[in-house]
Symmetry: C3
Subunit: 306 residues, 3 copies
């Protein structure tokens, strides 16, 4: 019975590994990506004002991963455009989601059961993209573990990682946040996948590629479905992240703003200590700092290193 | 008579195709580009404050196309600097336009007849740049129509396309607009040229290259001259754009903010509908949206796709 | 005696040229870079809020030169990650400087004598980076003097040149200033080094490479030490810059805002002259301009060139 079960799983893994993404899974990825763009604040506005900018944004949503991984590997970021069929398919999805008469396509696709299926299919393409990125990197950097992780991550979650610049295309600029400061669930799960596939590629993880693909795909599809059904934002990583953070990164600060001056003996007395860089132990302030420090040129210049 | 006329046109086309851009046409391009930079708000200020930043901006105006096409094709964006003669010539034009004693060069070049001639010559270089970009792309992507269009467009209108980042060099940041959201005439005419030359390169357009170069060059020079003489901003594309827009992109929206909640069944009731993404049919609001939606983490996270 | 002295200097030069940067000099570079990041406003805040963003910023500080020179030469900006040992070492320095119990590492390293030594060692790595960049460029562009200068400069001062984008990682956006508008001492001294090494590479400077390395290294180490000890921001370039500026770039403007309209005969009368682009002769206004000009579409469009 066990052997039969293992055999079935192996067959399933091989089957999944051989599954072609084009055209159904790719189409689902394009539809869901364009729908996600449409639901951004101001996107419909842009679609009326400048269909070209809207199309460009959609292409960044659909092919952002390929563009970003191309950039960081010094391969042409314009390369996705060479695949005319996929570009035409994505453009068709863009047109239907934004400009279909009676808004038929979006209304249908937004119905929960349909959306669930499409999103599940999109999650399947994530596995392919991460693996594709890791493989692409391994050809140029045979044992470059960090490079494989970076490229796999970029290829799988590129759309989110370049979100600040995609928003710029639509005339929106929000520098106070980005996917590194506040990682969304898709970005985290893609990073996890990139790490796993890179470790497996460098033979640190004793798993065959089809098996890892199956495990990872099942994990991300099940989680995504659960989060959509429950309307929950709690990611499965929260506990691990919290534990990691408490162990490695939560250090009580050793000084307060009041004692800062007496402790920072390297600062010129005429230059006020930087008050915003200290806070009471344990206080977490979620707001990013954007204020300027007074320009204490004498001591600042001598400390500037570049 | 007809044969003679055709023969003359053919000779003219061949003559134009063989015309060297260096040094006269390139010089005109550099002068007009630097003058355009000088006429930007705050540019003279920057030229006094930081001649280096001013020079860097001027180089982006002069070589922006080569830089951008290099970036998207993963060829060194620093390559234009390898052509020392052109760089020195452009730098000389920069110096003369910004710092010539008695402001002689700018004052002369700004006189309308002189400006007309220089701008006409600059428009001739546009043909070369677009064709150069299309050819460059066709070497790497033989039948990549979209890639050829993208590279031809970037090479011909790169300076405008990277305008947000060129302004950043001068300490200016205007994210609410860019050449995709609001295309200027030069960008549109270059896109049109890129499409024509790409179609011709892929043999969809039954024209010889010198003939297309002649037609396109005459068209852009005549139009530019007309617009400068009449002080008019009405581009020849307006009618076509309007018709295209009405046919393809002007759809009445099917719902209003009042009925939005009842229609958006996929949203968690606790999360308010996105009011800014709907507007009454036919209303066009030219302002880009920059407001934040309240962070409805429960439903938002589950919808985030990346 | 002279011969002995010259022989000693030659030996010193050869010795310096053969000095390995790894591990001590590289470590000093990483520690000083991460300390400089830590002393930025808001950096400690980011280290608590998002250790990943903090780590990413630190890597940009440590490897910014390699990343930027890779970008401009179309070599993979992700290449520094391939050197796993250096990445792990830099990450260790990042962790110790930001999260060491009792803040021990930062407190020790910030003590002036220790900081002096570390900064001196970091300055030594600057020579290697500039020379590395110049050599890297010379392989692709044999006599490309400007390319060598650009790449040497990028490799030696990349961290500062990309500072706007590094700040963006931490949620900070300050477009009104950048290293081109207001060059800091490290950026200037690196540019000087890039020019010298490029001239030497192209055989315009009759010096052997080890000798130039020795001269340059001694110069930058001595200056940096002097500036740190005296807490002074006055760079050794000030006099030269001032003289250059007065000779080449300080031209009295030939018109004032009052006469602007009568002088600018190319402008449509309905379009107001650009007041901010003129100022009284001799007045230097250090503030960058960010205001918009009223959109005079008629004359503006006809002048737009791209």
């Amino acid at each position: 019975m066990d052997l039969l079960g293992l055999g079935t799983v192996k067959q399933l893994a091989e089957g999944l590994a051989g599954l072609p993404m084009f055209p159904y899974f790719d189409t689902a990825h394009y539809i869901v990506s364009v729908m996600a763009l449409r639901e951004q604040p101001g996107a419909l506005e842009v679609s009326r004002r400048s269909p070209f900018a809207c199309w460009f944004s959609s292409m960044l949503y659909c092919f952002g991963g390929a563009v970003l991984s191309g950039i960081i590997l010094a391969e042409a970021p314009v390369a996705p455009l060479a695949n005319s069929t996929n570009v035409l398919l994505a453009s068709l999805m863009w047109y239907l989601v934004f400009y279909c008469p009676l808004d038929a396509v979006y209304s249908c696709a937004a119905v929960l059961p349909v959306r669930l299926v499409l999103t599940g299919m999109k999650e399947v393409t994530r596995t392919w993209k991460v693996l594709g990125g890791v493989t692409q990197a391994s050809k140029k950097y045979e044992n470059g573990l960090f490079v494989m992780i970076a490229v796999g991550w970029a290829k799988g979650a590129g759309g989110g990682l370049i979100s600040n610049f995609e928003q710029l295309v639509r005339g929106i600029w929000k520098p106070e946040t980005n996917e590194l400061l506040k990682m969304s669930y898709p970005t985290k799960v893609t990073l996890m996948g990139a790490v796993l596939f890179s470790l497996q590629q460098c033979r640190y993880l004793p798993l065959r590629t089809p098996d890892l693909m199956l495990i990872y795909t099942v994990f991300i599809v099940v989680n995504k479905t659960r989060m959509m059904l429950l309307g929950s934002s709690s990611s499965p990583f929260d506990t691990v992240e919290s534990a990691l953070y408490q162990t490695l990164f939560a250090r009580p600060l050793t000084y307060s703003p009041l004692t800062n001056q007496s402790q920072s003996s390297t600062r010129t007395p005429s230059c006020p200590a930087k008050p915003d860089s200290k806070s009471a132990p344990g206080v977490s302030n979620g707001l990013p700092q954007t204020e300027d420090q007074p320009d204490c040129s004498e001591s600042e210049s001598s400390k500037k290193t570049n």
